[in-house]
């Protein structure tokens, strides 16, 4: 019998796993996707929110503040790119300035440190390239940007190094109560456990509603983003959003923003669209057009507008999105279910869920520790053993790295400067990559301007070499997502 089974390997599930692994507990993570970080934790704005917008006293406010404070140490321990680049909410009218002042007050009540209102003059000094119609701004220095999938994968790797087991392609389909815990029924066998953490993202309502009379509903809410190429990063050094007004956001998002990703690209987004079918993740023409139109409209306000006179359609690398789990309770749902002891929810984790994730995971872990009287794991190893990305090295380090490991001298992904050493390492690390997309998430191979046009065939070859696979067995993202369909000679051979 397991001590804890975590359902869902997103930011909450993986951080819970990491913090549980610091104790003498047996922990199993079940993930229905082909890899950890397959859902909302993958496709989001990458923002580490300062915490000035949730209503004071809500779980969103509490965990936002707690989570935000954890990022420096956590990301440094796990060698995950994180940048406290600050967040700015700019106003172009007196009305918007009122909203800025309201957010400042919320920020103070929530305990956000350093949040302040900048007058037009102060804003000019801080960001001289801001459009001249901008009358002021809210500035939150604790706002930041992280690489969300790197963070989640890193936490999972750390948990795996410390003994947590992960099962992918494993979907929880039912639960049975036992005297001393639960039996989790899955498509991949049944597992007994003392505690269950329901971290199932947009599916968390279904799981909760199987065991509890206290039911809730989650609406998958799709957020789309557009990525701009590296040449634009030099004009974007802080996250800049326009003051959210119901008109611009449709009442759904916190307002669209332009963000300097930690990997050197620029993120634009996001909009929000509600979905019925919670697995049908798709960007729509409507949502992408909305982002482009929006930024065309506000372009002149933004510092980047001083350098590129209009929205650079040619600079677009890709669009992406993810389904956020919006609950009908309009707040995070965290804690043990009253009529289902041992079943602990972390549900409705929408924005600021990425920021709050580590704090929620840590909280869940503490709940389990208390319930199970767990002792510290004295063999716990912090960090993980990922090879350093070549692109982040100094010239001397690069030279040295190639000398020690010649695979560092072979560029696989030219756009993002990913070497063969990193690709092979991504395959051999704990929870190693098994698909083209898993390599991409761990190394950035295929994330750049050519979108894998040049490197995907090489990544496929390396997967075959390292895992002893036939090229026909390699998938893009697990399951039946085969890249190649047959040997090229087949049809002719058949005729003969």
């Amino acid at each position: 019998m397991w001590d804890v089974i975590i359902i869902g390997a997103g930011v909450v599930g993986c951080s819970a796993a990491k913090y549980l692994s610091q104790y003498k507990l047996s922990v199993l993570v079940l993930e229905k996707g082909s890899d950890v970080c397959s859902g909302a934790s993958k496709g989001n704005s990458a923002m580490v929110h300062a915490g000035y917008d949730p209503d004071p006293g809500t779980k969103k406010a509490i965990y936002n503040i707690l989570g935000n404070a954890m990022f420096d140490e956590l990301c440094s321990e796990l060698d995950v790119p994180f940048n406290r680049s600050g967040t700015m909410i700019f106003a172009t009218s007196d009305e918007e300035m009122c909203e800025v002042n309201r957010l400042k007050e919320l920020g103070d009540r929530n305990g956000v440190s350093g949040v302040r209102v900048l007058s037009q003059q102060e804003l000019r000094e801080k960001e001289p390239n801001m459009g001249k119609d901008v009358v002021g701004a809210l500035y939150a220095p604790t706002g930041g940007i992280v690489c969300p999938y790197s963070l989640v994968i890193a936490m999972a790797e750390n948990a795996a190094i410390n003994g947590v087991e992960f099962k992918t392609f494993t979907e929880a389909v039912g639960f049975e109560r036992l005297n001393d815990g639960w039996k989790v029924l899955t498509n991949n066998g049944d597992f007994e456990t003392k505690l269950i953490f329901n971290c199932a993202g947009i599916h968390a309502d279904k799981l909760n509603n199987m065991v509890s009379e206290d039911k809730f509903h989650i609406t998958p809410r799709y957020g789309s983003h557009i990525l701009l190429d590296r040449e634009y990063i030099k004009y974007v050094d802080t996250t800049i959003c326009q003051t959210p007004t119901p008109l611009l956001t449709g009442g759904h998002t916190k307002g669209m923003g332009i963000m300097p990703s930690v990997d050197g690209t620029v993120i634009l987004g996001c909009d929000a669209e509600d979905y019925d079918d919670s697995d049908d993740v798709a960007c729509t023409t409507r949502s992408l057009k909305k982002i482009v139109d929006y930024f065309n409209k506000v372009w002149r306000y933004l510092p980047i507008g001083n350098f590129a006179d209009r929205f650079p359609m040619d600079g677009i690398i890709n669009s992406y999105g993810g389904l956020r789990a919006h609950s009908d309770r309009d707040d995070f749902i965290i804690g043990e279910v009253l009529d289902a002891p041992g079943f602990i929810n972390a549900a409705g984790i929408e924005s600021p869920g990425l920021t709050a994730g580590p704090a929620i995971g840590s909280h869940l872990a503490q709940l389990a520790v208390k319930k199970l009287y767990a002792e510290k794991n004295e063999h716990y190893k912090p960090g993980r053993n990922a090879l350093r990305p070549f692109r982040n090295m100094t010239k001397e380090e690069q030279s040295e790295a190639i000398r020690k490991n010649p695979d560092y001298g072979k560029i696989v992904c030219r756009c993002e400067l990913v070497t063969e050493a990193e690709v092979r390492d991504a395959i051999h690390r704990p929870l190693g990559a098994r698909t083209i997309n898993a390599v991409k998430m761990r190394t950035r191979a295929g994330m750049g301007r050519c979108q894998g046009g040049f490197c995907s065939s090489r990544v496929l070859q390396i997967l075959c070499e390292e895992l002893n696979l036939d090229p026909l067995e390699v998938t893009q993202s697990g399951g039946d997502s085969y890249v190649l369909l047959e040997k090229a000679c087949c049809s002719r051979c058949k005729e003969e």
Binding site: I226, D279, D280, V281, A282, C283, T284, T285, S287, L288, V292, D314, I316, I317, N318, S319, K395, Q398, S399, I402, R403, P406, D407, Y408, G409, K410, I411, R414, C415, L417, R449, C450, Q451, G452, G453, F454, S456, S457, Q461, P471, L472, T475, Q476, S477, G478, G479, D480, S481, Y482, V483, L484, L485, E486, K487, A488, C489, C490, S491, R492, K494
Partner: protein, 419 residues
């Protein structure tokens, strides 16, 4: 620091032709850096014919065409390094490269020829909505899987865009036993060569649908269908015209982009129209001693033209090293301005007393023209007027100007289409 007289970045058709030409001009210390593990670039995956008709008066496959140059490189003992990636290029003509044998290498060159080629526009750049299944490839990536790796990446295929690689792949998929359901082109004309429409689509009964585009991709793990729709005159999909085509693969052949990331970092001035470096008739960029040719300068339709252009770049790089190239900056020269109907012209500047008798201006029209004239004006006077039966954006056109008629030219000449 290693010293090289003429350094060539890229060992494809452009780089090889430039290297040979620099050597023929008397430079012994030439070095080609190539990131792939072979010379020849994209030609190595072009198993179809149609190469070399202009250059060699022979109908060759891409591989055969490349081999002619590779043989020459070997015969002339021109040094090259494969699996070698250039990390950066700076104004002072130094580069940093890496490979697994020599490690990190700094090279100081006396002249550099940029011959990095181009990349394909991806699904992401085109913002095609829909799910993210396997089975969406650029045409060149599919070509690589099929011709270099020997695997068929799709069996029921829709092709978005009618660029040449897409047309070639339509034929090849058909020959390999796959079914190409349709080619979908957003413009009212093809961006590929007329001969490819005829030989790759018409001969195989593959339908091409103009004024239409892909508006959705369906399928969770592998492509299951794409939705296509007609577009209006602003290229916006017309609601109500959507229809699904069941397929397992979407190939994208919707434009090529010169790979100028190194050029940008070095501060070389690029043209918004060609997306390549702004050059003079020596094919010299805004940084003296740096030359550009082939698809990194502007996207070509035919490799023969790449070779011819690159010979000029290689020769001038050599002359630069030998101190035989007049050192003038762009504004001392005659600027070439794109007038009515012209999308982009190379070169953008012409020396008043250059080293060639004749200057070839290569350009693409903005749209399809029939029975028109290409005119060159200066100071309000037309100094050259040539009739053209057809001008199409899918085929690069050229007009040759004699130096003597430029003698009295203004600071600029305008090239335009007259209907």
């Amino acid at each position: 620091m290693k010293n090289v007289d003429v350094l060539i970045i890229g060992g494809g058709s452009a780089g090889m032709a430039a290297a040979i030409s620099a050597r023929e001009q008397g430079i012994s210390n030439v070095l080609i850096l190539e990131r792939a593990n072979y010379l020849g670039g994209v030609l190595r995956q072009c198993i179809h014919n149609g190469f070399g008709i202009h250059k060699f008066k022979e109908d060759l496959t891409g591989i055969e065409y490349a081999q002619k140059y590779i043989d020459k490189i070997l015969e002339m003992n021109i040094p090259y390094l494969t699996n070698t990636f250039v990390l950066n290029l700076s104004k002072d003509l130094t580069i940093t490269s890496i490979n697994s044998v020599n490690g990190l290498m700094d090279i100081q060159a006396k002249a550099i020829v940029l011959a990095m080629g181009c990349r394909e526009r991806s699904r992401g750049a085109l913002l095609i909505p829909g799910t993210r299944p396997a089975g969406v490839f650029t045409a060149g990536t599919a070509q690589r899987y099929l011709n270099l790796e020997g695997y068929l990446p799709g069996k029921k295929v829709v092709i978005l865009g009618s660029g040449d690689i897409g047309l070639i792949m339509a034929r090849q998929f058909t020959l390999e036993g796959a079914k190409v359901e349709a080619v979908v082109e957003i413009m009212p004309f093809s961006s590929g060569l007329a001969r490819n429409i005829s030989q790759c689509l018409n001969d195989f009964g593959i339908p091409i649908s103009y004024n239409s585009t892909v508006v959705n991709i369906k399928g969770r793990k592998r492509v299951e269908a794409v939705t296509i729709a007609d577009v209006d005159e602003h290229r916006i999909p017309i609601s109500g015209t959507e229809r699904d085509i069941i397929c397992d693969t979407l190939l994208i052949s919707a434009g090529l982009i010169p790979e100028n990331e190194l050029s940008k970092e070095a501060g070389i001035i690029l043209s918004d129209r060609t997306k390549g470096a702004v050059v003079d008739d020596f094919l010299q960029t805004s940084i003296p001693g740096v030359f550009s040719c082939g698809n990194v300068l502007h996207v070509h339709d035919m490799v023969d033209h790449v070779s011819i252009e690159s010979e000029i770049a290689g020769k001038n790089a050599a002359l630069f090293v030998q101190g035989k190239l007049a050192a003038t900056s762009f504004h001392d020269n005659i600027s070439v301005i794109d007038g009515d109907g012209i999308m982009g012209t190379v070169p953008q500047y012409i020396h008043r007393h250059g080293n060639e008798e004749q200057i070839r201006l290569m350009f693409r029209p903005r749209k399809l023209y029939k029975n028109c004239y290409v005119c060159v004006d200066t100071g309000g006077q037309c100094i050259l007027r040539k009739k053209r039966m057809v001008l199409t954006p899918g085929e690069m056109s050229e007009i040759t100007i004699n130096q003597d008629i430029l003698a009295n030219a203004n600071d600029s000449i305008i090239i335009r289409v007259e209907v």
